[in-house]
């Protein structure tokens, strides 16, 4: 007799197996995240924590030009990071997808390995490189290109380069995965039919890689937007992002509801982005 997987006993057995873990995740993932998002309508207690009068003052406070500027800056920096990653990540993924099987594996491992290094150490490495006394400045001085060190550290550019370095593998991998599935005959057919290199790239490779490009964009944009470590260490505190606001409201100002307001804004931006991504990739799939 074939046992039906959806039978009542196996469903009960399944719940018995899963429920302790599901309770754990409800208590320490679902409730914390949801309650935190709703905390923005509460009032800060005098010694941290929250008290009851429900109000929307925090949203009014968040529209202060100072905070709006921080949100715009964060979007620009995370956007620039994702764009820079795409700019160098797409050609790299394209190159890897055209290698032999063996070299594809070697290159992918080489791309992933740095990602397994502690992210503070990877950020710190850019302090070493970009420092006024650092390797890049010393090199430029030794070959006589400059005589005074270039101030590279503690600029928005340093933050963008640092975050691109941190998250670039997350751009390359999904694009490679999308391109790797593409039938190589398609691009070759485009050539045989007289397409130029650029045209076949634009009409064949890029559309086919589009689902991977969108996922890569989200994978890089999301951790960049909420990052407070890189702006602090490489931006020297001069570049303030949403993550820095959240951190400061929770740990310094002890105004949890106001900090939660920015966390909510962060979450909303991400939800909008992910919705756009799933909408576009569905449309791309239909067209393809």
């Amino acid at each position: 007799m074939v046992k039906n997987g959806g039978s009542k006993t196996s469903r009960h057995l399944g719940w018995a197996w899963a429920s302790p873990g599901l309770v754990f995740l409800t208590l320490f993932a679902a409730i914390p995240v949801l309650s935190m998002l709703f905390m923005s309508v509460l009032t800060a207690g005098r010694f941290g924590g929250v008290t009851t009068p429900i109000n929307f003052n925090n949203f009014a406070r968040a529209t202060d030009p100072v905070f709006v500027q921080v949100i715009i800056n964060s979007l620009l920096i995370a956007g620039a990071t994702a764009f820079l990653s795409l700019l160098i990540g797409f050609p790299t993924a394209l190159f890897i997808s055209r290698l032999s099987r063996k070299w594809q594996v070697i290159m992918i491992v080489a791309i992933i390995l740095p990602y397994w290094t502690n992210f503070l150490v990877r950020t710190y490495a850019w302090l070493v490189l970009l420092n006024n006394e650092g390797i890049i400045n010393k090199f430029l001085r030794n070959i006589g290109l400059i005589d005074k060190p270039i101030e590279m550290l503690y600029t928005p550019a340093a933050v963008i380069v640092g975050m691109t370095y941190l998250y670039l593998p997350l751009m390359i991998l999904p694009i490679y995965a999308a391109l790797e599935k593409v039938d190589k005959n398609l691009t070759e057919a485009a050539f045989d039919l007289g397409s130029s290199a650029w045209k076949s790239l634009r009409t064949v490779s890029i559309p086919l890689a589009m689902p991977g490009i969108l996922i890569g964009f989200i994978f890089v944009f999301v951790p960049s937007l909420g990052n407070f470590v890189v702006p602090e260490l490489l931006g020297g505190g001069k570049t303030v992002m949403i993550g820095n606001l959240v951190r400061d409201q929770f740990l310094k100002a002890r105004d949890w509801p106001f900090g939660a307001t920015f966390a909510l804004i962060l979450a909303l931006i991400l939800i909008v982005l992910i919705s756009i991504q799933s909408y576009v990739s569905k449309r791309v799939n239909i067209n393809a």
Binding site: K3, G5, G6, S10, L13, G14, W17, A18, S19, G21, L22, F24, L25, F28, A29, A30, P32, S35, M36, L37, G48, G49, I88, P91, L94, F95, I96, M107, A110, I111, I112, L113, P114, W116, T117, N118, F119, L120, V121, R122, Y124, A125, W126, L127, V128, L129, Y165, A197, P223, G226, F228, V229, L233, V246, L251, G259, A260, A263, A267, L270
Partner: protein, 257 residues
């Protein structure tokens, strides 16, 4: 055709240099004799010797390993039981998304959510709260990895085992777990490495007396470039690389069984 491949090859070479130059600089400077970590004074293992007597670093390293080990064990147990359960009940998309979502939620949002929850239930911040927090997102990774494989197991094998008189426990340890072994190993390596390297959530959910290694590294970096970081960075790099390579080897062996 050749022109485009050349262009993408140039970018690819640049990307490899971009990815490896910073790490190489850290590793190189870790063998520096100089007390100023940026000026090369010749090869020496001086900083590798002093780091063993650096009490804050060594005790935070022990704490980090402790947290990572306990987190790995807990995440494996919770993640595997959830996966077995979801598979048995043929759970739909919601429960699967629910169980893997903590891996996708931005770490900052999860971190402050947990901080406020611990404060609400008056659980004072310590290594215990860090372990709970790390177990949350590591469990999600274990579920993701184990669910991907568990659906491929033929339920007839488990049924045969039960029909032949094996107890549920015996079936679990003799049939289910061995078949899941590659994904359990992958989940364990993922959990251990993620927990060991994790900073943002530990930063918010840890008490001040028991910093983990990433927290110590963070406060050192805030004061600028110090030679100890070069050595620590190199050691962490070696641990991670060895872990990834080991996991791949074991995974291959387990897959072939």
């Amino acid at each position: 055709m050749h022109r485009r491949i050349n262009l993408s090859a140039i970018v690819a070479v640049f990307v490899i240099i971009f990815l490896y130059l910073p790490i190489t600089a850290v590793v190189g400077l870790s063998f520096n004799k100089s007390s100023n970590s940026l000026i090369w004074k010749g090869f020496g293992l001086d900083w590798y010797q002093t780091i063993w007597s650096n009490e804050p670093i060594m005790s935070s390293f022990q704490r980090t390993i402790f947290v990572a080990v306990v987190t790995t064990v807990l995440s494996l147990i919770i993640g595997t039981t959830i996966s077995i359960g979801l598979n048995k009940m043929k759970a739909g998309g919601f429960l699967r998304t629910f169980s893997t979502a903590p891996a996708i939620v931005p770490d900052l949002v999860l971190a402050i959510g947990l901080l406020t929850t611990f404060s609400t239930i008056s659980l004072s911040l310590s290594l215990t709260t860090v372990i709970i927090s790390h177990t949350v997102f590591c469990t999600a990774f274990v579920v993701a990895v184990v669910l991907a494989r568990i659906g491929l197991i033929d339920p007839a094998i488990e049924e045969a085992s039960t029909d032949l008189g094996a107890s549920a426990v015996k079936t679990l340890f003799k049939i289910t777990i061995p078949q899941l072994m590659p994904s359990l190993i992958a989940g364990a390596v993922l959990s251990f490495t993620l927990s060991m390297d994790e900073f943002v959530i530990a930063f918010f959910t840890n008490g001040p007396e028991t910093p983990t290694l990433p927290m110590v590294i963070y406060s050192m970096i805030r004061f600028g470039v110090t030679p100890e970081i070069n050595v620590l960075g190199t050691l962490l790099l070696v641990i991670s690389f060895v872990g990834v390579i080991l996991a791949q080897r074991i995974g291959k062996v387990a897959d072939s069984i």
